[in-house]
Amino acid sequence: MNRLTDYMLPPARSTLASETDALFHFINVTSIILLVGITFAILYFAWKYRRKSDDDVTPVITHNNKLEITWSVIPLIMVMIVFGWGFSGYMNLVTPPDDAYEIRVEGASWNWRFFYENGATSVNELNVPVDRPIKLIMSSTDVIHSFYVPDFRVKRDVLPNRYSSIWFEATETGESHIFCTEYCGTQHSNMDGTVNVMSQDEFDIWLEAGNAVDESVPPAERGEALVSQNGCNACHSADGSSGVGPSFAGLWGSERTFQNADPVTADENYIRESILQSNAKVLEGYDPVMPSYQGVINDQQISDIIEYIKTLE
């Protein structure tokens, strides 16, 4: 039975996961015992008391107070145990320690942005140090999303008009999945990411390096990497096929016609504007669904992305 419930759950990689798992296990075991009992009773009665003749006479048993009170009170006690257990675990889950390290999270259709204390940012990749409580302060730029890391057993809706928060403390280094679990449109199932749990030293190095530019790599290649890091390629293909947004292939220098603005030729300023004020010009045939990357992508990075798009002419 232990192995069954272990099989059902993802690896437990946070300090509070074991509490959730213990209750999950308790309810499973109790339920399976009761279910087997009830199923056995159904089958046994159906066989033992099967109709032998059409004139069968059955006893008149209308009720039995003692029995009925027993089978009301015992389940009541059991669910109250589950209630108390679940509530105390929940309180731990929603009460972060005072010294938790804070990271800002923004959900935008359809990616996750993370903002760290020193101005470093990342998209769809959350970097955190191991063995240290982390508090995420989350909001949405558009519709409701929900931030879910199965390995940590945490989930919280991310709302457009208020902040919500969760906390966790990762117990081992490695990668864990992030999912969006509140339906948010076309690419909802692609709004996923990774938590990279690293040692404190590695984290500090990453944080320092943060958005530093690797001068040894040509700008166009840096741009290509940025396009994938920031999740642009979820909607904008590089091969000319049309996705949620127009493809990058053939974009550079082309004539663009818009639903809400005069036509322009795609140049540096058009691309810059499309990244920062994404819905200022909405291309014919597409919906105004792109979130702004203001504050996520800096000027150097925009230049790199422009260099990359130029190569896709």
Binding site: T20, L23, F24, I27, N28, S31, L34, L35, I38, T39, I42, F45, A46, Y49, R50, R51, K52, D56, V57, T58, I61, T62, H63, N64, L67, E68, W71, S72, P75, V79, V82, F83, W85, G86, F87, S88, Y90, M91, L93, D142, V143, Y148, P150, D151, R153, K155, R156, L159, R162, H177, F179, T181, E182, Y183, C184, T186, Q187, H188, S189, N190
Partner: protein, 579 residues
Amino acid sequence: MATAEASNIKRLQVKRFKPDESPKEHYLNAEKGLWSWLTTVDHKRIGLMYLGSIALFFLIGGILALVLRTELLTPTRSFIEADTYNQIFTLHGAIMIFFFLVPSVPAALGNFILPLQLGAKDVAFPRLNLASFYIYTIGAIFTLIAIFTGGIDTGWTFYTPYSAETSTNVMMMTLGIFILGFSSILTGVNFIVTIHKMRAPGLTWNKLPLNIWALYATSIIQVLATPVLAITVLLLAMERALGIGIFDPALGGDPVLYQHFFWFYSHPAVYIMIVPGFGVISEVISTFSRKTIFGYWAIALSSLAIAFIGFLVWGHHMFTAGQSSLASMVFSFLTFLVGIPTGIKIFNWLATMYKGSIDMKTPMLYAMVFLFLFTIGGFTGIMLGALVVDIHLHDTYYVVAHFHYVMMGGMVMAFLAGIHYWWPKMFGKMYSEFWAKIACGIIFVGFNMTFLPQFIMGAQGMPRRYYNYIDQFQPFHQFSTMGSYVLGVGFLIIAAYLIHSLLRGKEAGSNPWGSRALEWQTSSPAPHHNFEHTPVIINGPYDYHKPMAEFQLGIAHSHNGHHEGEKVDVETTTAQEKA
């Protein structure tokens, strides 16, 4: 009356009316032609029209489900686009819930059976009953228009602000559901009045069939909860059409408010869907065990308890949504409380089978399948009610599996039990018992194949409403899809033998199951006005220790107790009724 207590005791002369075993005239041939159906005020015909409509919607919803499952065979695109997938899961949910589950037992089976079980000629307001069917039809037409003019991709919950911003046809769909709600409300009002005012002489509250108690509890929820849904979708429509900010934060509204409004209806709506199923199961288990129901009052009152507590648990859909911890605690507590009356019913049904004379006919088989699947649904509900575990499981396939175990494993199995139980009363024909049992077995296997793996992948972290998924879940999805095909085959077999039964079925006779319940004491199919006499009830509906003759009594002459000096052909039994 000559006696001293004449003021409150009325003496009725009764005689036994044996039902006609193969009636020449009945409600199906009392009037002829399409027009007679479209304008009928006969509750039995309206019930059948509902039955046809919900069968159609079940077919549509079922085909959509198979399309979804087929798409999920591979982790990425299999054969439809993401937007199409999103529209199909929305329609599957909305159609199955609003057009199948909500009206399935109350409006279809309930309409047919409620007046028969009360010994009434019809419901209290027959024209209102017909009107509610047409309101349902109009709501359905709006929904179909929505499907063909852009579809809808919000999920059946229409959560804001997404539903306020999406370019799909939310207006038409919500309007359809707004209209549909009135059908539900009117049916509820009709049933409440009918149960209060139209019971046959002698049918006191403690002799009401448990199916009636269940429909009574359901009707109360329908009347009280449905208006809130109507208000909610109306506000949503106003926001979209007029730009009044209620739920959309871009306009100064609050999206969580929408969730409160929505679940204030939609959680009780879950009980609108399942409580009538409890009623059917009580009837079936008692009839096929040929035994008095165990704990009559416990079952009757637990339906009412569920109806009332069910109004106070909506917040358990929002544990991750950002309500206060105190609110979450209270909602979790009440959620566990509402589980208790449900558990009590399971034990009562088991105790009814104890020392019974159990005949494993198809309806009983479905009742047993119901007991098993619904118990799993109940236990996984306890799991989801536990706060800390729900944080992990919320919006994953675990919830999808739980919901299907309760709604399909519970409600649809109860509905199938009811259909197979009352089919002979509806059409006077029997279906093939052999094929019915085969289909029941296939459905049981297919159902578990489809939804058991979903518990596992949900607990492992597979979110719901996902078009693409990570590779590790593929084996579960594939197994689940195979199961859904098996399930589909099971339903096709049901359709085949039921149609065969309509065309070539053997005559059923008035009471093929040997039931004591009132609806079986008239001919099959029932006469145009249900009974050729006014039935008089002196025993409870589950009193299997009393002779059948005592269940077939009716007022001996047409003038209802007056002129008692007149000579009539009366058998020995007399009944007394407190007026």
